[in-house]
Symmetry: none
Subunit: 249 residues, 2 copies
DNA sequence: TTTAAATTTGCCGTTTAGTGCAAGATATTT
DNA sequence: AAATATCTTGCACTAAACGGCAAATTTAAA
């Protein structure tokens, strides 16, 4: 077997599976592991793949991690935000939660749409304050450093004094059986207040989060009026949610 | 499983849920918790996430927002902010106003200084939320689009319920005769509330603003306890302020 | 074709990286 | 203050990487 041919096979495997083990390749090509190692080393120096301890990974795989430093799964979140926009009418009064998906929603609000938006999230408030036709009201409180949102009793109390048409919320975890759950107790209290302050609650949630759960429960799945994922409403993954009284979008 | 692959998965989980437990990850990846810990430690040092006790959290927006490099008279404002810092003691409770000078103050707060900071300003809140030892409390209200601060009755009311050691405020205009004045009526109302909420009020003001005035009056110059400019306290330009009972810094 | 040089490959001993385990130190919760 | 969880550190074990060497293969030249 020619060296060139072998290296091509290695590249193929890497592109196909995003990663390979040197030992696997050595076996399938029936050459010594040293040979494979040398090949991979060479391909690495030619920038055709990246060699790591024990194997190699595709370049595309790593650069996606670099993109991740911006926003994870941005395309999906943008799609969700676009669907959410369709619910908004001129003059609506809404609440926008924190998190990257809701931030994306804030970002996509059309320049000419007149809205009143409540939020707890500093980044969302910053984003919305650039929209001339949006009245932004920030729910004050102690600022959580992780999420950059207001938390605590003050925030919850302030929420108790408002009523909005729609709340657009995210969640840490969601499951058709266990409902919405979170990592933090504080956040659960806050989300409960948000849901209570809304005539209708809209959950924005990328499909990757479906069927996951955690320690603290925000609400039953029935508490959600509309659930938006990046999937088509008739998608098979949403089957377990269709039995509930939820509008899928 | 390759180390790289594992770290990628960890990043995914962190981005997805904003927060993860080391034990959860160890279980889903079927590796020891030590390995996960080491991975997370490594990712932390690469600035891809933040390690916390027991888990990791997404950097999200915490990466301090791209610093606006074209702030007018930045050098002067930095100097003022540095002087203001000398007033702060461990455990102080302060208010930080909006404006670029106060933002600079927020930026320069040492990483190890423990403080409680109230603010009306979104950018100041964002900046402060990156300081681990600062408790940030945002005074909510309607957001003014120009200044990115809370304004209105709600904000004023919230201010009426607090008392801080120091208020660090800016002003549109200042004059030794006419005191502090502003262009906007709303802002004046707000600043009055801020001054009332403080045991001591510190004015941060570049010398260029000295001896200027406008339509609406915030307060007499006597209402200010300490005035900080970029000039030395004995500078001739500050002569007219020396007759008052103000501490010049 | 034969021979010599250069390259490639496999093998082996040594060195290094990655992983899991366990004991003691810190943090966090009750 | 006690109990629990998490972190740190050091250690042992394994897998992988490295470098040198020699056999095998290819290439180039006589």
């Amino acid at each position: 077997m020619l060296k060139e041919e072998r290296q091509q096979t290695i590249l193929n495997e890497v592109e196909l599976h995003n990663r390979i083990l040197l030992t696997d390749i050595a076996e399938t090509l029936d050459v010594s592991i040293d040979t494979v190692r040398r090949d991979v080393k060479e391909l690495d120096s030619e920038q055709k793949l990246r060699k790591v301890h024990g194997g190699a990974i595709s370049l595309g795989f790593t650069t996606s991690s670099a993109r991740n430093t911006n926003i994870y799964a941005l395309a999906e979140k943008t799609k969700i935000a676009e669907k959410a926009l369709s619910l908004l009418k001129e003059g609506s009064v809404i609440f926008v939660d924190g998190g990257t998906t809701c931030l994306e929603l804030a970002r996509l609000i059309p320049i000419d749409l007149e809205l009143t938006c409540f939020t707890l999230s500093l980044p969302v408030a910053m984003e919305l304050s650039s929209k001339p036709n949006v009245t932004v009201i920030f729910i004050g409180g102690q600022i959580s450093k992780d999420a950059q949102i207001s938390i605590g009793a003050n925030a919850i109390h302030n929420l108790s004094e408002i009523k909005v048409d729609y709340s657009f919320i995210g969640t840490g975890y969601v499951d058709s059986q266990y409902g919405l759950t979170e990592f933090d107790w504080d956040i659960v209290q806050l989300k409960k207040a948000v849901i209570k302050a809304a005539k209708k609650t809209v959950l924005l949630c990328i499909s990757e989060k479906l069927n996951s759960q955690h320690r603290y429960k925000t609400c039953d799945i029935n508490a959600i009026n509309t659930m938006i994922t990046e999937l088509a409403p008739e998608n098979e993954m949403l089957k377990s949610f269709r039995t509930h009284d939820i509008h899928l979008l």
